[in-house]
């Protein structure tokens, strides 16, 4: 089972974060065969067990030249039924070159040094071990 373990000076403050690269999905690239490819969007992702779905920062899909493939509705602690676009993307976990491809939701991530929330839709495929006393976490697929 491919996995990576990340250690940080203060896991409690920073959270379980990983570098990722976001790209158009292989499904789109193989079906449409665009003449030019966008550069992968380098981002930092937080593994968020409080998120039922995976989110990318608003604007990333536009930067990659993607059109939405759906609309969904989200609830946050401060709002209900906010309509958000969905995109079909792939992203690469830089630590171990593992690729995820699927539908993600686009929303505004406020005041955080992260551009992606890895939600429970992806964690449903994974083993996530948070070792607080060691300031480390492991993600395996």
């Amino acid at each position: 089972m491919p996995s990576f373990t990340s250690k940080s000076p203060n896991l409690q403050a920073i959270g379980p974060v990983a570098d990722i690269e976001i790209m158009p999905s292989q499904l789109m690239l193989q079906t449409i065969k665009p003449t030019s490819l966008p550069q992968p969007y380098k981002a930092r992702a937080l593994i968020d067990t409080g998120a039922s779905g995976t989110v990318i920062q608003k604007g990333i899909a536009q930067t990659l030249g993607l059109s939405p493939v759906g609309v969904t509705f989200i609830n946050t602690p401060s709002s209900q039924n906010v309509a958000c676009y969905q995109y079909h993307i792939q992203f690469l976990f830089v630590p171990n070159n593992m690729i995820f491809e699927g539908i993600v939701t686009e929303a505004s991530l406020q005041g955080q040094p992260i551009q992606c929330l890895i939600g429970r839709d992806i964690l449903a495929l994974a083993v996530f071990v948070y070792t607080g006393y060691d300031n480390s976490f492991t993600l395996a697929f």
């Binding site: 499904l27 789109m28 079906t31 449409i32 665009p34 937080l46 968020d48 409080g50 998120a51 039922s52 779905g53 989110v55 030249g65 993607l66 059109s67 939405p68 493939v69 759906g70 609309v71 969904t72 509705f73 989200i74 609830n75 946050t76 602690p77 401060s78 709002s79 209900q80 039924n81 906010v82 309509a83 676009y85 079909h88 539908i103 939701t105 929303a107 505004s108 991530l109 406020q110 955080q112 992260i114 929330l117 939600g119």
Partner: protein, 83 residues
């Protein structure tokens, strides 16, 4: 309950909502592909529906929705999203 407005895909959402009951009767749990006011197909998986969307419409907006009587919203409890 607050419902925000969106522009792109609003026609497709209206089409889906208008046909939802009929779709639930005949294809519960499957995935529908809608472009403008046209129902372009029903598929077993979202990947199949999206592939067909890319084949038919290229990189332009289209709507893929699972056919359910009501749609549970995604929930975010950590307050990182500006809603």
């Amino acid at each position: 309950m607050v419902m925000t407005e969106i522009k792109t895909l609003s026609t497709e959402l209206e089409t889906f909502n208008a046909k939802r009951n009929e779709l639930v009767q005949k294809a519960l749990g499957k995935f529908v592909l809608i472009k403008n006011g046209d129902l372009a197909g029903i598929f077993d998986t979202p990947t199949d529906a999206i592939r067909e969307g890319y084949i038919k419409y290229g990189n332009s907006p289209f709507l893929v929705k699972q056919i359910l009587p009501s749609e549970p919203p995604l929930n975010f409890t950590s307050n990182l999203i500006l809603g």
